[in-house]
């Protein structure tokens, strides 16, 4: 395996860890406690960056899908697939952390508010994407149709978000989330976003390494069977 790639990934992982520790310090110690929600509000500094990364991951799936259909280089397909796998982890976490946050603040585990519902639909589109890849009959075709879904899915997300938003303002929930972040809050949020984004990059890189390995295995198997006869 490529020494340079391994080294780069190790550096990234170390950096990510360092940033994560910095973010943790800021979230737990630096930032003052919010008056309305109390300690629980700190979940915000995890929930929002994770949501941002979930969306970023899907954007990368979108771009990689277009690049794959354009250039037909399998590396774009690997980027898309790896990004989707990590993306669904982040999206699942958005739903879980959002739900846990909702319980003390609103008293219920789930609410059909705009953000959670839209996240749920995004999650379902990710699931559809990954299932589609599983059920494809053969590799190149799988890459192609997954790319199509990646493109349509991403373009659809803003429409879904808009529709759900209007839907929820027509039937306003009894519960409203108040914003208002001070400077320390903003700074903490940015650091946290950076930490999770870097983590995302690391995870996707490892995912791509794995796919390269799988590619090498199937290539070696072809060579092996040619010679074995």
């Amino acid at each position: 395996m490529n020494r340079k790639v391994v080294l780069r990934n190790n550096i990234l992982l170390g950096l990510s860890l360092a940033l994560m520790v910095a973010a943790l310090y800021m979230v737990f110690i630096y930032v003052p406690t919010e008056k309305n929600m109390g300690v629980v509000q700190r979940i915000f500094y995890f929930h929002v960056p994770i949501a941002w990364v979930a969306f970023l991951a899907f954007f990368i799936v979108f771009v990689s899908s277009i690049m794959y259909l354009w250039k037909r280089d399998m590396k774009w397909d690997r980027y898309a697939h790896a990004s989707a796998e990590v993306g669904i982890i982040f999206t699942t976490l958005v739903l879980i952390t959002g739900s846990i946050w909702a319980k003390p603040v609103w008293g219920i585990w789930w609410t059909w508010d705009a953000r959670l519902t839209a996240s749920l639909v995004l999650w379902l589109i990710y699931v559809a994407y990954l299932l589609l890849r599983n059920y494809a009959s053969e590799q190149a075709q799988g890459a192609r149709i997954a790319a199509v879904l990646g493109i349509i899915g991403f373009i659809d997300v803003p429409i879904v978000a808009l529709a759900i938003n209007i839907w929820r303002t027509q039937h306003p929930p009894a519960l409203i989330f108040e914003g208002g972040l001070g400077m320390p809050g903003l700074f903490t949020l940015l650091v946290s976003i950076a930490a999770f984004t870097l983590l995302f990059v690391v995870l996707v890189s490892y995912g791509i390494i794995l796919k390269n390995q799988q590619e090498e295995i199937s290539h070696l198997k072809d060579v092996h069977s040619e010679e074995g006869g």
Binding site: G38, V39, I50, I96, I100, Y206, L220
Partner: protein, 49 residues
Amino acid sequence: MENLGYLFAVYSIIWVFFFSYLFYLYRKQQRLQREIDALKKDIITGKSG
């Protein structure tokens, strides 16, 4: 400091997820590497054999 339990839950779930995933990646990478090495060996012995 009520509701600290929820904050703890969120935090630990996040870590569990990422740690598990990293562990899964690691294990899979080891397994794939073993398979690559085995295949390479087979090809070499196949050539000379």
